[in-house]
Symmetry: C2
Subunit: 378 residues, 2 copies
């Protein structure tokens, strides 16, 4: 694919500018820092992290990166100013930029919904000549979340590439587990860390969770991986993803080794059933909560309960909209172009845990399974 | 050290209960999730992550872990209830616990300072029979931050262990870089990931940053490590830490290889000078901003500027109080028992970057350098 990134990011911003004009918002602010990641900045400019981005309805994008040297290599924006010029203070930067862009006073400025209550009080005071808003729902940030929940063709190509590399790694993990090349949780995790980068990925999508049979009962095992045996006799879980140009994959493979008990086999079969039945409901115009409800019903019949959601959107973030949960609002429907995980799992301190997770693209006619994780019997 | 963890955590909580009583606060809430980490929960209960903790002035600690199975192995608290019983909703959990503990209405309840403005509005409404507070300064959360900025003897023993393992790894990295065992950024990073776990660490303290000469100009290189050559001709940076029982180390080693230019040598000498001069000011009762000011003056004389703070507290978090910055309030003084990084650095797109970082314990008589990172000439 031959991409003009200037055009790509500008087109994305133009969609938001339209929304801002329609909703009489003069400017919207995004902030990404170690304390709270905000991938909308990468979505709109390509700059990966540690920055403030101000998008004005007048059609200007001002990026304030912490690292101006990095931005010179990555960022597409109309104006780039070092964030250190404002001593890394978001409100100072915002005030400066509003003046620089001649944004009229008394207009509406939207700051991030994650802004803390104490910070909000400061913002209202420091920007007292503006109408400062911090909206949980209905604001520009939610509009961006909705916009981003349906991926454009460049995004889908990136997610496909992340998925393809993930599939290669699953095959490699299976082979090395069978041949004895993987003996510990560390071996499994570091194979992924090395081989995803060797294939051009930015890295793993999140902390790899490798849990041998002693630890697989945990939803998210802690610590994430250890020198413990992997895969050992029983049920082992490996939850990982990779990042390609910012876009993530997220899969969980369960490894089964040795003779399992009847109860263990029943738990596995139940997860497989929930996966198969829920998958049928991953389709356009179906309520997002529907597969989660279906899986919960299947588990409830056997007096089991899943302690986490059934899935989540995946893109520049590992977890993004939509969330596939029973509590998701009934009017949220799957749309063509959404990329969503499906990850039923059951956990028991005695039996161990089993989770099966793949990434699914919602299409016009149904769905396409992008990754090919499986329950592997060694 | 033979530790009774029940007593250890109870003692820590007792200190906070005293504060709550003195300040007429009935209960305080902490929340840790993937979206925002809050290590106070581990500090008060030992439970590592994904939970809500409610501490009541009446002397009760109620933990609501997402993963009840994990909590049964890690948590020290008076009452443990699965967070999924409240559908992972903090406000529902809080309401339930306030009732369960018979906390009188109209009393003061402090929710996390990071609570977003929209969440705060919900909290005030849902808990309308209580006096809900969300304080940036002066509240219970800040009291905890202050309390935790001075480490107890168990904490110092953990940080010492993290530092000792870090030193072993620095020696190993130097040896392997010289022998050719490390050829790429991946090699350097994965040596750390593997060897810290082999030595009993929970893992690396944060995303390891390994930047060969092409990328060392970045404060935080992006991506964190690649298949690029390391250490190559010029200046390479390796920024890493390890986690021992939750406690972190944080060091940066700069590797120098081949003949450097006069400008490069000058940049390095300047960083070394700032390090040496600033270190003298890491001592009890000295203002925390003083070494940062000193370093900035040294750089300014040569018309250079450092784009980040000089240091930060380190403990259960990689970055915690106090922050060693020029902007730190003048009344913040170093105290005996604080553990703080010292990390001057200079970066240039042409020359590359150089940072030298160690972890320092403030003592009664001066300081003790816990880690022994250095600028290594190959």
């Amino acid at each position: 694919m031959n991409i003009d990134f200037n055009v790509l990011y500008k087109n994305r911003r133009n969609k938001l500018y339209e929304w801002l004009i329609d909703h009489e918002v003069a400017a919207v602010v995004f902030q990404d820092s170690e304390a709270r990641r905000e991938s909308a900045i990468r979505y709109f400019t390509g700059h990966p992290e540690d920055a403030v981005l101000i998008l004005a309805a007048s059609g200007e994008a001002v990026l304030l990166p912490w690292d101006i040297n990095l931005a010179s290599q990555t960022a597409h924006a109309d104006i780039i100013i070092s964030f250190t010029d404002y001593k890394l203070k978001m409100l100072s930067a915002l005030q400066g930029v509003l003046q620089k862009l001649d944004i009229p006073t008394d207009t509406r400025i939207e700051i991030p919904p994650s802004t803390s209550y104490p910070e909000f009080l400061c913002a209202v005071q420091e920007l007292k000549f503006y109408n400062v808003r911090c909206n949980e729902g209905g604001g520009a940030h939610q509009a961006v979340t909705e916009l981003r929940s349906v991926k454009d063709s460049y995004e889908i190509s990136c997610i496909r590439q992340a998925a393809a590399i993930t599939d290669e790694l699953i095959d490699l993990l299976e082979k090395e587990s069978k041949s004895g090349g993987i003996k510990t949780e560390i071996d499994a995790a570091l194979l992924i860390e090395r081989e995803c980068r060797n294939r051009g990925c930015e890295g793993a999508a999140f902390s790899i969770l490798a849990a041998g049979p002693e630890r697989s009962f945990g939803i998210h095992c802690f610590p994430s991986y250890t020198k413990g045996a992997f895969p050992g006799e029983g049920m082992s879980i490996l939850d990982f993803g990779v990042t390609w140009q910012g876009y993530r994959s997220d899969v969980t493979v369960t490894f089964l080794k040795g003779k399992l008990s009847e109860k263990q086999e029943k738990q596995i079969a139940l997860v497989e059933k929930a996966y198969a039945e829920a998958l049928k409901l991953y389709k356009k115009d179906t309520p997002v909560f529907a597969p989660a409800k279906k899986a919960a019903e299947i588990f409830a019949k056997e007096k089991r309960k899943m302690p986490h959601g059934l899935g989540h959107g995946i893109g520049l973030e590992t977890h993004e909209a939509p969330l596939v949960r029973q509590t998701t609002e009934p009017d949220k429907l799957f749309k063509s172009g959404m990329t969503v995980t499906l990850e039923p799992g059951l956990y028991d301190p005695e039996l161990g845990g089993c989770r099966w997770e793949n990434d699914i693209l919602i299409t016009e006619t149904g769905n396409e399974i992008l990754t090919h994780s499986r329950i592997i019997r060694l």
